[in-house]
Amino acid sequence: MLPAASIVEHLTAAGLAPWLALTVAIVVHAAFVLAFFGAVPAVAIWLERKVSGRIQDRLGPTRVGGKFGWLQGLADGIKAIQKEDIIPAAADSMLFRMAPYIANIAAFGGFMLLPFSRDWVAVAADIGLFILLAILSLEVVGIVMAGYASGSKWSLFGGIREAAQMVSYEIPLALCGLVPVLAAGSLNLSVIGEAQQGWFLPNWLIFHSPFAFVAFFVYFTVATAGSKRAPFDLAEAESELVGGFHTEYSTMRWVYFMLAEYGHMFLISGVAVLLFLGGWWIGLPFIDGPVAALRAEDGRTVEREYGRIDVVDPVGETATPLLHSSTSSVLPFSLGNYIGNLIGAIVLTFKAMLLVIVQIWVRWTLPRLRIDQVMTTCLKYLVPISCALFLGGVLWPLTLTSTIGRTTLFDWPAAWSEATPLRFAAAQGAGAARGRGGDWESGSTTSLIAPSPTPSLSPSSPAAEIAR
């Protein structure tokens, strides 16, 4: 259980009891992510009103909080919190009350695994994308439960539609997500993001292969459907079902559903940015380079340490207590690293917000599909398309090998790629990995990968490929 490895290390080094350090770290991470989770919907709702207004030739909110009505989200929240909380007599009150929380927790849980920058992720998991999609798929449980528990036919219809839609759309979502994963060679979102440095044209995974290029658009369509946005918002189709699954909800419970929806929108946009659009890189090396150099100050020293450990001590020897005995395992706090990560987080948030705006734009432009059209779109078109894209993504490295002699199109400078496997080991964030440089982890990247005949043993295989 290491949700906050680096903070834990810092605090333990400062002399705090381990359990206390872990608790503090958990609270800090949760508070940061929660604050972000609260801020994103507020901004997104304001954007939604503003953009929809402009699309309909109106101004949208103009008064609250000054010139552009930018406090509109807050005003909405205050208004909603003051309203009467109604639970219908026909409702199953326990499930009715639980449903918004389940939907919300699912959307919030995804944020824990989303890396905002190389070192800024609450839970650095080796299979981050898989866990993220798994947690995100729980949101449908809350929606379906709300639809059932309301005791209303409109809600029930909304719930049924949502269940059918979500269960179907998860398949192409996962398949399209796998295409960039195949190219990057890892399920770790931090590694996938870090792999896309350099010029955006060959390095961003959307430009990595024609299949990835198509996969991005399929992914975005499917993800829009997954967050039940128009034109796929059949679960709450207000022209047919009043409000769908949230017909009977009022006040903050309704707001929780909206929070979950906007959080979900941002989350899948963030995943799209990480998987396809270069993560926290701007895509222009003359800007990215200095930023990376800011961060690399620490990264390089760590790399050197890793290198030293690997060369001097045979693998396995240093498995003992680097973590606790010496401070070299703890990355010292450095302003450069902090600013580098901050810029990365801003870039990623900006890109994700752009995608959110596209979703809003689509919602106010396209008419809603019928439910049978939604299902046909998914099962007859999107699933076969994504299967074909997946197959193409698998075959693409072979094509590259036979034409340009490499398995990827990444064109990092040699200096980067040599250090990359080790840097990935550091970037994976698990502090213990950082401490045990000579353990099996980096031992596998150095000793197993390079000469072995099976190159895909570790998450950083593309890097190792190039290093070879």
Binding site: D92, A430, W440, L448
Partner: protein, 208 residues
């Protein structure tokens, strides 16, 4: 901290499971089942088994339960009137199955030498350093025993012999059985879709 979390998840899992048995309403049962299964996923995460935990969430909580509620909503006659009636025979049958399952679990738990497991070289935190259990699982899938590999690396076998061993390994691992099972499932899926499709006779099609 870990102990506290363990008890939290364990109690939630057991409490949820008990509530499933006690509860009469089918959809509420599904809710308690979610609590129970999600807590088990939490236990997996606590053990460092990321992959198993995420799979548990994806398949059982996100997939099976949703299908269950979906089925209930489609088949039930009126909203909120779904209470289950259980006959005496079913009680006996369920009891027999439950007790025998408990025996199987009990035997398998007792069969493990816990002293050895606890004294093992790797704790949970070290497992996380190695990427949880995901990487060993993946290695095992292509026929490489991660634990054995680790002990050999730790024992300073020369890299050359290790590479030789890797390149000459005979085992294909679990990849082939895994693929066969997944293709089998795909066939079942397509078959089910074929059987369940709306059967329209040709002249009917003209009306639509």
């Amino acid at each position: 901290m870990t102990t506290f979390l363990f008890w939290l998840f364990a109690l939630a899992a057991c409490g949820g499971a008990l509530a499933v048995v006690i509860e009469k309403n089918v959809v509420r049962m599904a809710f308690w089942l979610i609590v129970s299964l999600a807590s088990v996923a939490g236990l997996f995460f606590l053990l460092g088994a990321d992959f198993v935990g995420a799979t548990q969430l994806l398949i059982y909580v996100g997939g099976t339960i949703v299908l269950l509620i979906f089925g209930v909503m489609l088949t039930a006659t009126g909203p909120l009137s779904r209470t289950m009636t259980v006959t005496r025979g079913e009680h006996v049958l369920a009891g027999v199955i439950g007790v025998s399952l408990l025996c199987v679990f009990g035997v398998s738990v007792l069969a493990v030498d816990w002293e050895e497991v606890e004294g093992g070289e790797l704790g949970v935190e070290e497992r996380y350093a190695d990427g949880g259990t995901t990487r060993p699982l993946g290695l095992k899938l292509i026929g490489i025993d991660g634990e054995k590999l680790r002990s050999e690396v730790g024992g300073r076998r020369s890299e050359a012999s290790l590479d030789a061993r890797l390149s000459t390994r005979k085992s294909t691992g679990y990849l082939l059985p895994f693929e066969i099972a997944s293709v089998h499932l795909l066939v079942v899926l397509i078959g089910a879709a074929y059987l369940a499709r709306a059967k329209r006779r040709p002249h009917e099609r003209n009306r639509h």
